[in-house]
Amino acid sequence: MVSPILLIAVPLALAFLTPMVGLASKSARRYMPAIAMLFNFIVAMSLLPKALEAPIIVRTAGWAPPLSIHLVAGPLGLLLSSLVALIGLLVAIYGIDYIREGARARYDVLYTLLLVGATGVVLTGDLFNLFVFFEVLCISSYALVAYRGDSAGVEAGMKYLIQGAIGSSLVLIGIGLLYGTVGTLSMADIASSVGSVAGSRLFISLAFMIAGFGVEAAIFPLNAWLPDAHSSAPSSISAVLSGVAIKAGLYAIARVVYTVYGASSILPFLAVLGVVTLLVGEMCAFAQEDIKRLLAFSSIGQMGLILFALALSSATGISGAVFLIISHGLAKALLFLATGYMIYRTGSRDISSLAGMGKRMPIMSLCFTVGAFSLMGLPPFVGFASKFTIVRAVLGTGSTFFITLLAIGLIGTVIEGAYFLRIVQWLYFKPAPEAMPEQTEGRAPLTALVPVGLLAVLIVTIGLLPGIVGRALGPAADDLLDRAAYIQHVMGD
């Protein structure tokens, strides 16, 4: 049988191998991340049907769960790791030709390790292990943001690192407080014994973890690093950061809040925080002139919506959140990738430089439009299905509090529509500048068109047939909601 641990071990081995491959052949090295992610995607997809029935518990070192670190490859974890692998694969293909400068050898390894980190975060069943993989993810993204070594990248990387490092210290304090209280690190074990603990220590440790994981998850006051980092990184990195990395932070929060603590008292607060994040993100995106910064702020907005949906604490709500994680991952990756070559073409990140792109790069522009429409939640793209699920969940709760929040949050959607459609107008309806330096190097090669096109196709296909993903969403939501089942699966008896 294939073990889910291969999802972490094999890419890790390939990452360690990559420098050796590079010694033999420089061009072969560039394909290593794609190979690793292809493997992951195949394995994750093949494991998914089984995990939908019951989570696969993987022991390490042969010991039963609370003793050693274990992985819990539940529906949610495998669904997300498939998403990580899929986006990782497509972006890796894109990166083959996209990355032209800097320490190419290190890029390939760091890129693979970033995705290993994300996969580890969603699969692990141990709190400290979660932290370790979280650090794998974070540290490789600090390095990748500054990868180009230009002024903006380095500054963004530095700021990201400072905030991220403080965030992870807070997480570690939270873990320490929790360990000191219950004396175990397995999430299921903590969950089973946490109920008997009284006092504010639990809540304060949760506060530390939320504040810590929240930095990576880009929750409202903690997200200042995101627009800098996502806009200054190379586009392929922005794509994975936006599409995958921030979702890992959010997953961590959800897992901690729902499974480890079962803390329902904090959920309304998270919902408010989500809506505030949504509004702030969209408002800031509205006035941006830099296309990548705009996309980054839009990611913040979407994260807010996901957080809001996660905080609904209903099966539909969490399904909607997971669905939005998927649809936003696809769409935002697509947008950043499409933008990457447009920026190469014009040499500028100004939105105004996109004028007439519809003629110059028709396929990229079309895909960009598809992605933008999906993000806005327009049918028949996948964004609609996810937003629809979330709105349905909110109205299903029947609580005036949540409905009011949603109504406020929908204003954010309107703002989003305004700025994305403005870009679409720039792409298609603004005349291109007359004297256009025709840069041949900016022409998108096949390795760029294929992933971008595939993402667009996926967005439309899943949008038309949401049942493809829909089947996995219900179990994924239960995975988070049903603490007792989680504990029982992991601890046996």
Binding site: S200, F269, M283, C284, G396, A418, V424, Q425, K430, G467
Partner: protein
């Protein structure tokens, strides 16, 4: 042919025409027309069928249903008809312009989406098609660049706002009744205890009201209509805004039902009464704003809002005759507004994009067919007897008077006076008066442009003389929506509704005509005199334009111009400006100083700890 087949044809047609356009422009044009005509035929033959079937089981846990009934058929045939005419008109209009492929694709897509809206049997697919229509229309409105971009954005922002409201409303229904299939929903709502919540109705009204440009939600329309390509203006004004009307009728009468509807709102102010008054306001103000417009398409755009007012007024009255009038006026307005926009489009096409009424004139000599059709359209818009507009307005007046709404009736009447004035301004400034020299050699519009005009004109006259043809369908629809069915004879109404017989009118007109002809025979024949004689007193005529009109209703404008500005639009614009300021202010929290960012992190942590000790969390 089922509803599903129709939709597949429509959407596949849109996609295929794009694909074909990549190979050959001619092929694409032929194909687009074939598809459009085919759609009209397909819908025509489904007349009288009623069916409802699931076409997509389990989309996000809901069955998507298509349905064909009288109401759907009525709107479907209107949509496909006007859509078809605008495609035919587009042949020459867009030929040689850029992005033709995109244009046809978007146009056919809008038409297909509208068919989808009216054929939807559940509110989810209704919403999906609604959204597709919205964004496809946005792409088309932006097509002409320049100012069109702002118009497009304004349209789409309002439209997203509306659809958000609508999404909330329809998911409220889903959460409470666990179905979105219209027939089930109607049954459940009617059998459920308690009334229908006002906020849901208002949310729907916001969504539909924005689309059909009900005051004060109309501000996107004048810009969008005037900046869109003319054939698409015809679609926009003729049918796209009617989707809002369809939505209102569907939700108010198809879903909620007459009995519950009459109780929605406060006991002293019912929802439908408010709708009536909004309708009346929507008649009055835009009509007079239309008078002051110098841009032909802008004038027509404002006139569209005014006509929507009639329809909303008639819907809000909630009577059998009122609904019949509303439906008939919907059809009529679709036809004559399409005609007028296409006529203006033909002029615009020939004169190279001139729509300014002050710079046109005398085109009757160069484009007689266009003028004749526009004249019929104008008369229909005013509601002159023997045009179809007369019958629908007659129905509306009739119900307003019999139901005892004198003020509303007065508003409707005043709106008609205004209509006379602006139709006159439009026709005169474009076609009458002196022909500017540069247009002296203008040729008539190509046949592909004249044909849609003639068809529309023919329909107006036909339905004006034989209103029984559409009324037999409409009467049935009114019956299915829980009203007393309206029975009409071929030429009018029987005594139980009120005597109206177009044959009598015909006879009267024929008599008057006879008298005129007779008098002309007796009187001295007029002698044609050169213009030079009368105007230049024998001197050589000046080369410039001297018999023309600028600022047609200048005195009126001076009197009322200050008041008749679009206050609402200005309010929205200033609100948008303020919002931008706020957005820019919010941005400042990201100061660029990493220590501040760290402080945010610590602040959130502190807040959580503090909130816990304070007992909030």
């Amino acid at each position: 042919m089922s509803a599903q087949g129709i939709l597949i044809t429509a959407f596949a047609g849109a996609g295929l025409s794009y694909a074909l356009g990549l190979t050959s422009a001619r092929l694409r044009e032929v194909f687009a027309i074939v598809v459009s005509v085919l759609l009209v035929c397909l819908i025509a033959i489904t007349h009288g069928q009623g069916a409802e079937h699931v076409y997509y089981p389990d989309f996000l846990g809901l069955d998507l249903v298509l349905r064909m009934d009288a109401l759907a058929w009525f709107f479907a045939i209107t949509v496909s008809m006007v859509g078809c005419l605008s495609v035919i008109f587009s042949l020459h209009y867009v030929r040689g312009k850029e992005k033709e492929n995109f244009y046809y694709f978007a146009l056919l897509l809008v038409n297909a989406a509208m068919l989808g809206i009216v054929l939807s049997g559940d509110l989810l697919s209704f919403f999906i098609f609604w959204e597709i229509m919205s964004w496809a229309a946005f792409l088309l409105i932006s097509y002409k660049r320049g100012r069109a971009l702002d118009a497009g954005l304004k349209y789409v922002i309002m439209s997203i706002l509306g659809s958000c409201a609508m999404l909330l409303a329809l998911l409220y229904l889903y959460a409470n009744y666990n179905t979105l299939v219209i027939s089930d929903l109607a049954q459940q709502i009617r059998s459920a205890a308690g009334g229908f919540p006002l906020w849901v109705m208002l949310a729907f009204a916001l969504g539909f009201g924005i689309k059909c440009a009900l005051i004060p939600l109309h501000t996107w329309l004048p810009d969008a209509h005037s900046e869109a390509p003319s054939p698409f203006s015809a679609v926009l004004s003729g049918i796209l805004i009617k989707m809002g009307i369809y939505g209102f009728i569907l939700v108010m009468y198809g879903v909620v039902g007459l009995k519950l509807l009459l109780e929605v709102g406060a006991p002293w102010l019912h929802f439908h009464t408010v709708l009536c008054w909004l309708g009346a306001i929507t008649i009055l103000i835009p009509t007079f704003i239309a008078l002051l417009q110098d841009d032909a398409k802008r004038l027509l755009a404002w006139s569209s809002i005014g006509q929507i007012g009639y329809i909303m007024l008639a819907i809000g009255v909630a009577t059998s005759l009122g609904l019949a009038g509303a439906l008939f006026h919907t059809l009529n307005h679709a036809v004559f507004k399409a005609l007028l926009f296409l006529a203006v489009g033909a002029v615009e096409y020939k004169t190279g994009g001139v729509r300014d009424l002050n710079r046109l004139g005398g085109l009757i000599r160069r484009m007689p067919v266009t003028f004749a059709c526009a004249l019929i359209g104008g008369l229909g818009l005013i509601g002159v007897p023997l045009t179809s507009g007369f019958v629908s307005k007659w129905l509306i007046y009739k119900t307003l008077i019999t139901e005892g709404h004198p003020f509303l009736a007065l508003a409707a009447l005043v709106g008609t006076w205004g209509a006379i004035l602006y139709v006159y301004k439009l026709l005169h400034n474009m076609f009458l008066g002196q022909l500017p020299e540069k247009y002296a050699n203008l040729e008539a519009a190509p046949f592909s442009m004249q044909l849609p005009l003639m068809i529309c004109g023919f329909i107006i006259v036909l339905f004006g003389i034989l209103p029984g043809i559409p009324l037999s369908v409409i009467g049935g629809i009114v019956g299915t929506l829980g009203f007393e069915p309206v029975t009409a004879t071929l030429t009018g109404f029987g005594p139980q509704i009120g005597p109206l017989n177009t044959l009598n009118l015909c006879a009267a007109f024929a008599g008057v005509l006879l008298v005129i002809v007779a008098f002309r025979g007796i009187a001295a024949r007029p002698k044609p005199v050169s213009q030079d004689d009368s105007y230049a007193a024998g001197a050589a005529a000046p080369a410039g334009k001297y018999h023309h009109t600028v600022r047609f209703y200048d005195p009126l404008e001076r009197m009322t111009g200050g008041y008749l500005r679009d206050w609402v639009d200005q309010f929205y614009l200033s609100a948008a400006g303020k919002a931008k300021g706020v957005f820019n202010g919010v941005r400042r929290i990201y100061t660029g100083d990493v220590r501040t960012y760290v402080m945010y992190i610590v602040a959130l942590l502190t807040f959580l700890i503090f909130a816990h000790t304070a007992g909030w969390l």
